[in-house]
Amino acid sequence: MAERILGVFETSADALRAVRGLVGAGIPRDGVIIGSTEPILDPEFLAPEDRKTRMSLWAIAGAILGCAIGYSLTATAAQLMGLAPGGQPIVSLWAFAIVIFELTALGAIGGTVITFFRETGLPQRRSAILDAQVARTFADAGFIVGAAVDRSEQVVVVDRVLREVGAKDVKYQR
């Protein structure tokens, strides 16, 4: 069973050095575990495949869908249901534009939120990288970097790298 070795760091610069150290020591980039209680500002923390997001595209797609639904709901419903608008036109974009706009915005919000959850893999039942005991240490520390390894020689390497780059503490988690 793989063992997780996690180093606790105070600054993002230390954490970044740990990432580089682990990759340099032969740990695959996608096997490096990184977590933080504040935004990690350096793109180097991200695996290359994670740097691009389609959130803007899905927000726009959601907006277009919302706009189409808004138009259908107002114009089509008014025509099909035979509303009696008191001498005003049945389909009046001036009045319907407001409903269409709101549903467009709602679509953009929906597209953004759905993409957020899809790309982050949330919701999950619990934190993906920490058990409760390590999490307590992590909460006050700020940054955590480590790796999941299943060979004893790798355990020694990861432990050494994390301590060399200045880990405040190193935790083991099965």
Binding site: P39, L46, D50, L73, I98, L106, T112, T120, L130, D140
Partner: protein, 457 residues
């Protein structure tokens, strides 16, 4: 900013901001009990109105909208406090915004929830409320999409949903932090709400991106929402309602009262939770200056609105004008000018009085003044319709006053409970702001806090 905040260690910060969630004093229960009693009284009055009929309210023909609709506009106005102000500060990279955003966003959600109740209260037969919802039903009836009431329904619900998301998503990291620091049922509770947030780079990246997109989307939604409320009035051919500037006038008034309620909330939170190191005088100074700007903007719009009516001198319009400025509503009108301009401007204009206490006094004054403005808009025009034989008067009854007090107490209660259960200051944003300030040289321009990754808005 930053002397006090800069001296805080991460652990101290966590203790300060999470402690109020864990420890509960007797004062909290007392406040909840008092507010709960007022809410119950308001509910009883509403129950009486539902059972007896709308006749127990003071509204009549021609004044068919009264305190309920005035308070509805007022609450929808203050709902602009949060998400809109927070989004504007975020997009403008205001470096001092970090401790302010969540206090503000929570106001939006609760003000919308409470404001949205008023059309239902005003409806009388509240069980028919679902007629506003567009859905296919067995009678083949659809709501009339030409109706401003349906626009209201769409705008308020879009803003409420957007504001809820805008409040909740940025709260995930803090909920996870609390989950990792507490035990027992609290750990399960916050764990459930944190949705398994781990703080991985991908999660942070996507959160920053989502917040940026939502901020861009939510600003026009907020503006549209209060514009729609204004169009409820201005699309009617009523004296002093049928005005082209009503929408921007309402939006300015909404921001004006929104900033005021935000400052009141900040003063109280600062005092009750001992957040002096987080909500510093500079926050009050900056928001005070913003409020001062809005005092002048409000005066400008009010003057433009009344000047054009007076200059046109149309008999119908002048009847409503005189009713407000010289007639029975004159004390309300001049009280509004006093509260919205004469009192707050000197306080906010002078650095010596633009203190935390000074800002509180000015903000409370503005809140009263803005409620008076909403009352004048609703009651002033309806009391003086175009045909003279239909002129009337309106005075709120004890039922309306009780429901008004009950809903105000309900709003405060919701906010109190929220600040007891959730960190009222965004912990991760505060830490981010502090770190960014520490990185830049003194006197530098605010750091672009939202540009952590290439391609992120």
């Amino acid at each position: 900013m930053g002397d006090k905040a800069g001296s805080l260690t991460t652990n101290m910060m966590h203790e300060d901001l999470i402690r109020p969630l864990i420890l509960t004093g007797r004062r909290f229960y007392l406040v909840v009990a008092v507010l709960g009693a007022i809410v119950l009284w308001g509910l009883a009055a509403w129950g009486y109105q539902v059972r007896t009929g709308m006749g127990v309210a003071g509204i009549n023909s021609p004044v068919f909208w009264g305190v309920y609709i005035a308070t509805y506009i007022f609450f929808i106005g203050i709902s602009n406090a949060g998400t809109l102000i927070s989004a504007m500060l975020r997009l403008s990279h205001a470096g001092w915004r970090h401790p302010v955003t969540r206090c503000a966003e929570a106001i939006t959600v609760f003000a919308l929830m409470v404001g949205g109740m008023f059309p239902l209260i005003h409806l009388g037969r509240v069980w028919k409320f679902y007629w506003l919802i567009p859905y296919p039903n067995e009678r083949g009836l659809w709501p009339n999409f030409h109706s401003p009431l349906v626009w209201d329904f769409m705008a308020i619900n879009t803003y409420l949903l957007g504001s809820f998301v805008y409040l909740y998503l940025p709260m995930l990291p803090d909920l996870a932090l609390i989950r990792d620091r507490v035990a027992g049922w609290r750990r399960r509770f916050y764990g459930l709400l944190a949705l398994g947030w781990s703080g991985t780079p991908v999660e942070w990246h996507r959160l920053e991106k989502a917040i940026s997109i939502l901020a861009v989307v939510i600003i026009p939604v907020a503006v549209s929402m209060h514009s729609v409320v204004a169009w409820d009035f201005s699309v009617a051919l009523k004296p002093m309602w049928h005005s082209t500037i009503f929408a921007p006038y309402f939006v300015v008034g909404a921001l004006f009262s929104g900033i005021a309620i935000l400052m009141v909330a900040m003063v109280i939170l600062r005092r009750v939770f001992h957040l002096e190191a987080y909500l510093e005088p500079i926050h009050f100074n900056n928001l005070g200056l913003l409020l001062l700007t809005f005092c002048f903007l409000w005066l400008y719009f009010t003057f433009a609105e009344y000047l054009v009516t007076w200059y046109g001198h149309l008999p119908d319009e002048m009847a409503a004008f005189r009713f407000k400025v010289e007639g029975p509503l004159a004390p309300f009108f001049w009280g509004m000018v006093l509260m919205n301009f004469v009192i707050p401007v000197p306080i906010l204009a002078m650095r010596k009085t633009r203190t935390v206490t000074g800002c509180l006094v000015a903000s409370l004054s503005i809140l009263v003044g803005m409620w008076l403005e909403r009352y004048l808009i609703v009651v002033g025009t309806l009391s003086r319709p175009r045909l003279e034989f239909a002129w009337g008067h309106y005075a709120p009854t004890w039922v309306e006053i009780s429901i008004l007090m009950g809903t105000v107490a309900y709003f405060i209660l919701l906010y109190v409970l929220f600040s007891k259960i959730f960190p009222i200051i965004s912990i991760w944003e505060f830490k981010q702001g502090r770190r960014l300030r520490a990185q830049k040289p003194a006197g530098d321009v605010p750091v672009m806090a939202n540009e952590p990754f290439p391609g992120v808005m």
